[in-house]
């Protein structure tokens, strides 16, 4: 269970929070003008990134506030936390070396395969 540093309450365990999925997918302002595909794109389609992902989280068992998190989904490391409405920060590095980022032998206990910050 990882820790999340709620910008309003401080560091708490992940179990207190709900993840709202990928961040920066704004609800379109002009729904009637969109095609079914475009609406599906907003509603369902996701990048589901392995590596650095921008996400929305809610401190649901605490202050109930929403905020954004930059998280490496390949390691569960939280790289940055920022407020709703702010633009996504630049995060360099920390991406997997290869698309899967996994070592080519064994089950992952040998070589380092992620660029550490």
């Amino acid at each position: 269970m990882f820790l999340i540093n709620c910008p309003y309450c401080g560091e708490r365990e992940q179990v207190e929070f709900n993840c709202g999925g990928e961040a920066h997918i704004a609800r379109p302002k002009n729904p009637p003008d969109l095609s079914d595909d475009q609406w599906a794109d907003y509603l369902f389609m996701r990048k589901n990134i392995k590596g650095v992902q921008f996400e929305r989280w809610n401190h649901s068992s605490g202050c109930r506030r929403w905020f954004n998190i930059v998280r490496n989904t390949a390691t569960d490391e939280i790289l940055k936390i920022y407020n709703m409405g702010e633009s996504p920060p630049n995060i360099n590095g920390d991406d997997p070396n290869t698309p899967s980022g996994e070592p080519n032998i064994g089950s992952g206990n040998i070589s380092s395969t992620f660029n550490k910050k």
Binding site: F2, L3, I110
Partner: protein, 990 residues
């Protein structure tokens, strides 16, 4: 520590004596019992091989009845008076086991044999399987409920130290002296670890191995820490195994308690820094028939002697590939226990220990190995032989030596489980074939043997340096060490010999790698031969490392054997994943107190006790306990519900509706907010008025409904369904905070602040007049779909005239602390009207009679408002609201979707089963289904059954006859209007 207090215990029904401080294993060895179990597959006789948590063989069934526990390692059971244990996996007994026929048939049971057979005849697998299952398994599951309790503790500390050996103790001392909050976790019941409890006990007596100074240093370290324990900043917990290392230095440990009230405690530890000092585990060697009782790990034998004071008897032979086993020989020699021979696979060793053994005149066979052993239930002799240059073959004539105890050492494996669980990366060290920590992933250091540092002086040096750095990260400085160096013992190099050569044909050998699962070297060879080359494939095909010991002594040997057979370097193979838990953890402990009455929170309304007192039956709705119906004497459910329903339509029914979600909505843009989240329009709702709303997801599907009242210009009270209160609140916050931050709206959940008493029925107004005596309840003053604030005894109630039954109804929202007294008052005053409490079942009948839907019953996440024939509530004027766009997708605009209709059985007395499927044409299955029954009840008011259902193109099919094919008969039904009572709403306004 062993004392001289005698303790009696039973093993396999036979009575023995041991001493206080013994483990079951040490007591059994003390009594000369070597055969303690049978192996999984071949039922070979097996004995104790180790003295710790790595034990693969000596696992027993402890106790019986409701406190029995299967698969307990005898090496970890502290002896107590009256202990009763038995061996496992044998029949009729461990000495004579019919299953051992498998050993003779073993040529037919190589690794994975079951994948290749039992396929004919095709239907017979389950018959074969029955016997396979019976043969498998080890101990027996308890059959009765566990009488014990378990607890969870949370602990936060600056530094967590795992392992109370000398390195861990030294680290603990440094951290404690630096005034940090320290937790030290030790697996055994005593501090000091292997070095102090095994190595120095003898050296203190004999001055043999290391120098005495170190011993006293170790003892004083233990004493110092014991004194500091439970002081301000140090806590030591013993008998505690750290079994999981999770994210962000979150670690879990399980403590065994001797206390009667609580059996085990799970410690949930969050540490700023973690120091791993988990030591190392001795390896076995892989030679023919290496699994006989009486063959043990060399250092474990030494521990049984030095720590448990169990004196070995008979002919003792040591078989090693490294220097450490010589410690065992030296200790025994100094205690006048004869060593028959030391068999060393190396050509020679220049190590200090070896030199010492030589000086003592011990017989050492270099370049030799034990190539076979004899003795069915106990070893009685070994065959030794010389090896060729490359250690691949035996040469010369082999020699038979009689032997009662064979001490084996294949080197040492650092215990890197926790480091690996923490996602640290390992690196392979060729010199002693060990995986050791390389790159940390979390805030953690490894010290001592678990870091591949075996010599005491090096350990202290490493611990000091690493701790100095770690403490500096807390801003703490420590003085330079004031400890003198110790004499280093020079140990010569280990020689890896993953498979000890045999003079037999390899295919005929039985060289065990994983003892418990009966995996042999030739099984591994077979797996490789068959193309299972990945280490994971070999593991899964042969099951090596998958037994209850999880391969603590064997995994590295399996890797070595793979490397030898596949001509690959070990580091090219990688390892399998180190999985939690480090040692098995009791389910009950993991569940802690979250069982029985604490399994899940029960939510009850303030009126709950009244329901209990009045014989209510309850229904679980989410976490809520809701009154389901109130049977009177000798009434069954059907009768009770009929009575409640009729009473409500004819007089007064009263319902505790406090579980409905209530959200207080305030702020400048409240109306606009409601416009966006509900399908209908809210701007023009008058203050004091109520309106029903339907909430959709942005996929157009109904997710909730309820009545919202406008309390003031910018103030609303929303009600939600009971089950969705939390999720609706959370979704609304989501929209507000993330999509519409420009809206000034504030949401507060007031579900528990207010209780709701729903007074229904034609006489409802009469009762209301008695409760709120001065108030004008005329429909002119208080029309349907409006609310009033009315006082009673200076308590302000918000009374809403809304209805979920179709009857005239007042929902009284009262501050929760007054709910029960107001409820009682209703009964007091309502007596003359025969006021009747009704539960959720009657509520369902009443609303179904009226054709009202329940979200989650008539809907299932695939139903739009149009499907519910509720287009009237979907605004055409609004440019947008949540769900609007999705209602116009190609599938959602289809006209023949499943739609809500009434369903009437042709037989009015027959109540359909909810969930029954509907078809147009009866045929043999498969039949094309056109819908299903969502709600179905007997309506006492109509004197017949009624049902609601979702039917494909149902709105156009009203009047049509369709069928519900049930298992016993087919039921003919007619599609009808879903409103069965008072379609013109006369009763509401009456």
């Amino acid at each position: 520590m062993i004392t001289d207090k005698k303790i009696s215990f039973k093993f396999d029904g036979k009575k023995f004596f041991g001493f206080e401080g013994d483990t079951l294993a040490s007591a059994l060895i003390r009594n000369g019992v070597f055969l303690v179990g049978r192996s999984f597959k071949y039922h070979r006789p097996r004995g104790i091989i180790s003295a710790g948590s790595e034990e693969p063989n000596a696992i027993v069934q402890l106790e019986s009845g409701n406190i029995t526990e299967p698969n307990v390692r005898a090496t970890e059971i502290e002896l107590y008076e009256g202990l009763n244990a038995s061996s496992q996996n044998n029949w009729p007994n461990v000495n004579f086991d019919f299953g051992s026929i498998n050993d003779f048939l073993s040529p037919f049971f190589p690794a994975g044999f079951y994948y290749k057979t039992f396929m004919w005849p095709p239907k017979f697998w389950e018959k074969y399987e029955y016997f396979i299952r019976k043969a498998a398994g080890l101990g027996k599951s308890p059959k009765e409920d566990d009488p014990d309790k378990y607890e969870h503790f949370h602990y936060h500390c600056d530094v967590l130290i795992v392992g109370g050996g000398l390195s861990g103790l030294y680290a603990a001392k440094l951290a404690t002296k630096a005034n940090l909050k320290v937790l030290l976790v030790e697996q055994s019941s005593e501090l000091g670890g292997e070095k102090l409890n095994v190595d120095y006990v003898q050296s203190a007596l004999q001055g043999s191995v290391d120098n005495v100074l170190e011993t006293s240093f170790g003892i004083s370290l233990v004493n110092e820490l014991e004194n500091l324990n439970n002081s301000n900043n140090l806590k030591i917990i013993k008998n505690t195994t750290l079994f999981a290392y999770m994210h962000n230095n979150y670690l879990l440990a399980c403590q065994k308690i001797k206390n009667k009230n609580i059996r085990q405690i799970i410690w949930k530890i969050r540490a700023r820094k973690v120091v791993l000092a988990t030591g190392s585990i001795e390896r076995f060697l892989t030679f023919d028939n290496n699994d006989r009782p009486g063959i043990m790990l060399a250092n474990s034998v030494r521990k049984y002697f030095n720590y448990y004071k169990v004196k070995p008897r008979g002919n003792i032979i040591i078989f090693t590939n490294n220097d450490s086993a010589y410690k065992t020989a030296i200790d025994f020699y100094l205690n006048k226990i004869p060593i028959k021979a030391i068999v060393d696979v190396r050509k020679e060793s220049k190590g200090d220990l070896v030199r010492k053994a030589r000086n003592f005149g011990l017989k050492i066979y270099f370049n030799h190995g034990v190539i076979n052993t004899k003795g069915r239930k106990k070893i009685n002799s070994v065959i030794i032989s010389e090896f060729d240059e490359k250690l691949r073959n035996t040469i010369g004539k082999s020699k038979k030596l009689s032997c009662d105890l064979l001490c084996v050492s294949g080197g040492w494996t650092p215990t890197v489980h926790l480091f690996s669980q923490s996602r640290g990366k390992l690196i392979f060290r060729e010199s002693d074939a060990t995986f050791i920590p390389d790159i940390s992933f979390q805030e953690e250091i490894s010290i001592g043997a678990c870091n591949g540092t075996f010599e005491l002086d090096d350990i202290f040096e490493e611990t000091f340096n690493k701790m100095k750095k770690l403490l500096s990260e807390f801003g703490k400085e420590i003085q330079d060490k004031n400890r003198e160096g110790v004499n280093k013992i020079f140990q010569d190099k280990i020689k890896h010999l993953w498979v000890v050569p045999s003079n037999k044909y390899f295919g005929k050998t039985k060289m065990f790698v994983d003892f418990q699962n009966d995996v042999t070297a030739k099984d591994i060879k077979l797996a490789l031969k068959e193309g299972y080359r990945s280490i994971e494939h070999v593991k899964r095909y042969t099951t090596t490392g998958m037994a209850t010991d999880q391969g603590k002594t064997s995994n590295i040997n399996a890797l070595g054997i793979i490397s030898q057979f596949s001509n690959k370097q070990i580091h090219e193979l990688g390892t399998t994943t180190y999985r939690l838990p480090y040692t098995p953890v009791t389910f009950g402990a993991l569940a802690g107190r979250h069982v029985k009455e604490f399994f899940d929170v029960e939510r009850t309304t303030p009126i709950h006790q009244w329901h209990i007192d009045n014989n209510a039956k309850f229904e679980n709705v989410g976490q809520w306990k809701r009154a389901w119906y109130y049977p009177k004497e000798e009434e069954d459910m059907h009768q009770a519900v009929n009575r409640e329903v009729k009473a409500t339509r004819e007089g007064i029914g009263i319902l505790d509706a406090s579980t409905l979600g209530k959200i207080d909505i305030k702020g400048r843009d409240s109306s606009e907010f409601l416009n966006r989240v509900y399908t209908n329009s809210w701007s023009k709702l008058g203050i004091g008025k109520c309106r029903y709303g339907l909430m959709l997801g942005d996929d157009g599907m109904v997710i909730d409904d309820g009545v919202t009242s406008r309390l003031a210009e910018n103030h609303y009270l929303m009600t939600t369904t009971t089950g969705n209160a939390a999720s609706v609140m959370s979704k609304l916050e989501d929209w507000l905070q993330t999509e519409w931050p420009e809206l000034k709206v504030f949401l507060t959940s007031v579900t528990e602040q207010f209780s709701t008493i729903s007074v229904n029925g034609p006489l409802a107004t009469d009762l209301m007049k008695k409760i709120f005596v001065d108030f004008d309840f005329s429909s002119e003053n208080f029309p349907h779909m409006s609310f009033k604030n009315i006082q009673i005894n200076s308590i302000s109630c918000r009374v809403m005239r809304i209805s979920f039954t179709g009857e005239k109804c007042y929902e009284i929202n009262v501050p929760s602390s007054y709910a029960k007294s107001l409820w009682s008052k209703c009964f007091e005053l309502g007596k003359e009207f025969n006021i009747t409490p009704y539960g959720t079942e009657a509520m369902h009948v009443l609303r179904a009679e009226k054709g009202f839907v329940i979200v989650g019953q008539e809907t299932d996440g695939s139903v739009t408002p149009i499907d519910l024939d509720m287009s009237w509530i979907v605004s055409k004027k609004k440019y947008d609201f949540i769900g609007k766009r999705a209602l116009n997708r190609s599938d959602t605009i289809k006209e023949d979707r499943k739609q809500l209709v009434g369903i009437l059985t042709k037989d009015p007395n027959l109540v359909l089963e909810e969930g029954a499927q509907l078809v147009e044409k009866i045929s043999k299955p498969p039949m094309a289904m056109i819908g299903h029954i969502t709600s179905s009840y007997y309506s006492p008011n109509l004197g017949r059954s009624i049902a609601l259902g979702l039917v494909k193109d149902g709105l156009k099919k009203k009047g049509q006859t369709i069928f519900a094919p049930m298992p016993d008969k087919t039921v003919e039904v007619e599609i009808s209007n879903p409103v069965f009572i008072d379609p013109t709403n006369e009763r509401l306004s009456a």
